[in-house]
């Protein structure tokens, strides 16, 4: 093949600087996660100085009680916030690209409603909703395993339906979004029927489940989430050029040799799996998947090479900060993080919208 003649063979330094700046934003974000992470573990009903947090994490704890609090409660919770924030944001950024819709989020395809229905089904029909009610742990679900399993099962069922319909309709974003809208209503209606038939305590348990909460996951569940989120993120980063091409329009992408329908369907399944695992273990945590990509778009632009990792970092920051705030605002009562994500994210988001794009 003939090669184009070049006017000059120099490296475009100003462009490379511009790119380096994006990388710096992401590195700064990772640094912020580390700081927040230590702070998040150190604060709570019992204050643990940051230095002792670091010592305990390095296995050199002086205070055994503190070490137990850190390893049993705060560390898994902080890590869960990071992993879930990461996962919801990467699913969100992928969905916005796949569905060609800035309003798309991990829940656009009805995953949250499907999960909520699954949980309601487990609590009300399978009777896993024995309530504990005490000052310390407000309400909890008696048999979390069947609840998680049912929530996950119905998330997958929703995915399968959307996959089937999109395959029939040639993976068109419109078909996917509209099917998602239909499934959301269907599952919400079904959940309402179940709630109507339920007892007061069951109803409370179902409502409680839908408030997403990162303290729910144990180490094993955290491990499963981490594997799924990591695998999914690697998949999306490996396809970053394909997503850039799809953002430029389907025809442009096809002209660049991108198998658009295939990428859409696979991306949708990967994003939904990530979301399904998070929803099943933690409940519904809104807003993170919708706004984190937009926050990052306004700071470093639409280039998926930086948008994907940037959104992941932003998701982790937002969810970790929200969870820390959720544990502090009404201390000693702990709010579920889902209540706080919107409170934390919305003002920043509105500020970024008002300010416009960074130049």
């Amino acid at each position: 093949m003939r090669i184009v003649h070049f006017a000059q063979e120099t490296r475009p330094t100003d462009y490379l600087q511009y790119v380096r700046k994006k990388v710096l934003w992401i590195v700064a974000g990772i640094f912020l996660i580390v700081v927040l992470f230590i702070y998040s573990i150190s604060v709570g009903a019992i204050e643990i100085p940051p230095r002792d947090v670091v010592d305990a994490l390095l296995g050199q704890a002086n205070n055994q009680k503190w070490a137990t609090i850190i390893w049993e409660i705060r560390l898994p919770q902080a890590l869960t916030a990071i992993v879930a924030g990461f996962g919801l944001a990467v699913a969100g950024v992928a969905m916005q690209s796949i569905l060609r819709n800035p309003l798309a989020s991990p829940f656009t395809l009805g995953i949250s409603s499907a999960g909520a229905f699954g949980a309601a089904f487990a609590v009300i029909i399978l009777g896993s909703g024995k309530m504990h009610n005490s000052v310390a742990d407000a309400v909890s679900i008696g048999n979390p395993y069947s609840t998680t399993a049912m929530a996950f099962f119905f998330c997958l069922l929703a995915t399968a339906v959307i996959l089937l319909i999109s395959k029939m309709k040639g993976a068109s974003p419109e078909a996917m979004v509209l099917t998602g809208v239909a499934l959301t209503s269907l599952f919400s209606a079904a959940t309402m029927v179940l709630q109507y038939l339920s007892s007061d305590t069951q109803l409370a348990a179902v409502v409680f489940w839908t408030f997403g909460d990162v303290s729910r996951a144990n180490w094993q569940q955290l491990g499963i989430m981490t594997i799924v989120v990591a695998a999914g993120t690697i998949y999306f980063i490996a396809n970053r050029w394909n997503y850039n091409a799809i953002d430029a329009g389907d025809e442009t992408a096809k002209g660049l040799g991108v198998p658009v329908e295939h990428i859409r369907l696979t991306g949708m399944v990967v994003a939904t799996l990530i979301t399904a695992v998070i929803v099943a273990f933690l409940g519904v945590i809104g807003f993170v998947g919708l706004v984190c990509p937009h926050m990052v778009r306004r700071i470093i632009g639409d280039d998926q090479r930086y948008l994907i990792p940037g959104s992941c970092v932003m998701g982790a920051i937002l969810l970790l900060a929200s969870d820390t705030a959720a544990r502090l605002v009404l201390a000693p009562y702990v709010l579920p993080v889902a209540v706080l994500t919107a409170f934390m994210g919305a003002p920043i988001f509105i500020y970024l919208i008002m300010r416009g794009y960074r130049h």
Binding site: M1, F6, L16, T252, K254, G255, G257, D302
Partner: protein, 257 residues
């Protein structure tokens, strides 16, 4: 011949859109596909680079049957500038760099950067390299999309109405750029056109489609008032103004009164 097709046919649902299209595009020439709306110009372009799968027939680029190649391999032979593309929050450099996608492995190499850099210099767009394309005018944007297709280093460049929605100055500028690309890079360009005069001024060859078939193909000598009347159903006269051949449609006098 750079690109040839043999009895290419395409059906959309049960409707024949293209019927046994056989065309050949010589090396380093600018070829216009002409014909009324809905005749299958865009469909033909999309069948050539396999965005649409033809029902029958063969497309060969430099003797290679495209149906034996992967999508990325096809993209290294044929570039495509669609009529509509999205302009996101990307700099010109990034938007053009996307055209290297068929060549990029895991990450961008210095070669990719230098190809983009030199095209931006050639098209005199270097000062816009860090400008966001969502803030650009239609003419600038079209240049970005053309640059994107050229950095694919294709042998054939397909363009779907490259000058629609542009003002006269930009029309002439874009076509002059395409002309220069054809000459400098020895790329063959096939573009669908509506404006007969622009096609006449800039193209080496013409392909006229009617009812999904090739009515006529050839050099500028095939362009006659009879042919144009036949294809578009409008009587025209052809003449020279300032040494340039022009097509003027016969408009009923009373419209002006």
């Amino acid at each position: 011949m750079t690109l040839t097709t043999d009895e290419l046919s395409f059906m959309y649902r049960n409707r024949d859109v293209l019927k046994k299209i056989s065309i050949s595009l010589p090396d380093s020439e600018m070829v216009s596909v002409l014909g009324p709306n809905g005749v299958g110009k865009t469909t033909l372009l999309k069948c050539l680079n396999r965005i649409l799968r033809p029902k029958k027939g063969v497309v060969m680029v430099e003797g290679v049957d495209l149906s034996h190649l992967s999508a990325s391999e096809v993209a290294r032979k044929i570039g495509y500038v669609p009529q509509k593309a999205e302009a996101g929050r990307l700099t010109t450099f990034d938007a053009v760099l996307l055209g290297r996608r068929p060549h990029i492995g895991w990450d961008v190499t210095d070669k990719d950067l230098s190809v983009v850099d030199s095209i931006l210099h050639q098209l005199k767009m270097n000062h816009l390299r860090l400008t966001y394309i969502d803030e650009m005018s239609g003419g600038e944007l079209q240049k970005v999309f053309i640059a994107r297709a050229i950095v694919q280093e294709p042998r054939v460049l397909l363009m779907d109405e490259p000058t629609s929605n542009l003002d006269l100055k930009n029309k002439v500028e874009i076509l002059t750029i395409i002309r220069r690309i054809v000459n400098d890079h020895h790329i063959t360009v096939l573009m669908s056109m509506h404006d007969l005069n622009l096609a006449l001024w800039f193209s080496d060859r013409f392909i006229f489609l009617r009812d999904g078939r090739v009515l006529t193909q050839g050099g500028s000598d095939v362009l006659t008032p009879e042919l144009i009347h036949d294809v578009y159903g409008v009587p025209v006269s052809m003449g020279e103004i300032c040494g340039v051949r022009c097509v003027v449609p016969h408009i009923e006098k009373r419209l002006h009164d």
